[in-house]
């Protein structure tokens, strides 16, 4: 049997890698990928907790399903935004998108 903490450690590491991607990537699509990684890390946690702590209640799985749904919506909107920005400004580099600066 695998200890619960192994899953949690892997999830935490993937979450932090995703966070780094979201914070440091120049490419907007890269940022989005980082966010997907973070969401997946959360899902691993949800499923692991479900399996090890409350296997008789399905809340963890249901919640993971909703996270996936929201992730799909987020990806669709995010990518649509990126394409729209690209069409207007010919770039998807996040650094160039600073119209709102001081």
């Amino acid at each position: 049997m695998i200890p619960l903490s192994w899953y949690l450690i892997v999830a935490a590491i993937i979450f932090c890698i995703g966070l780094y991607g979201a914070l440091a990537r120049r490419n907007a699509i890269g940022v989005l990928m980082g966010i997907e990684l973070m969401l997946n890390a959360v899902n691993i946690n949800l499923i692991a907790f479900w399996r090890y702590i409350t296997p008789e209640v399905l809340t963890g799985q249901v919640f993971a399903l909703f996270v996936i749904t929201v992730a799909a919506a987020e990806a669709a909107i995010g990518l649509a935004l990126i394409i729209s920005i690209f069409r207007n400004r010919e770039t998807v580099t996040v650094e160039d998108l600073d119209m709102m600066k001081w």
Binding site: I2, A12, I29, F66, I68, T69, V70, A75, F86, V94
Partner: protein, 167 residues
Amino acid sequence: MTLVQIVFLVLAVAAIGSAVGVVTSKNILYSALLLIACLFVIAGFYVLLEAPFLAAVQVLIYVGAIAVLIIFAVMLTENLMRKQRAWNEQWWVALLVALALAAVLLYVVVTAQWQLSAAATPGDAIAALGQSLMSTYVLPFEVASVLLLMALIGAIIIAREERKEGE
């Protein structure tokens, strides 16, 4: 070390390795492909966790749909052969922050005491999942479907090319 544990470790190394690749690759297309690999490995975790339905959903939605969307977006926006800097100039701050967060999270994970349950997963977990989605969680379920519809419409409207009159 049991076989399952070895499988887990292999998966973990693969997941973390491909995740690192996703955020470090200079070519965004490689990032996308590595992301697919990573998501696939995470589906493997779900299988290990006895959640086969989630694993299937993961493969279908993430690997099948979201990843394809991402690759589409990459194709539409990038010059694929162009190598460029992967990170912005605040990458070192981001690295520090991510490491700090990792330290905090790992500390919590290692020190926390979980109240583990010895119960086995119910045999008909998929059926029970379907039933609870249609009864206990029907309102969130419907809200999620409305959210997806909104995302669909919103994505179409945002990404649609504005045609000027007479064109």
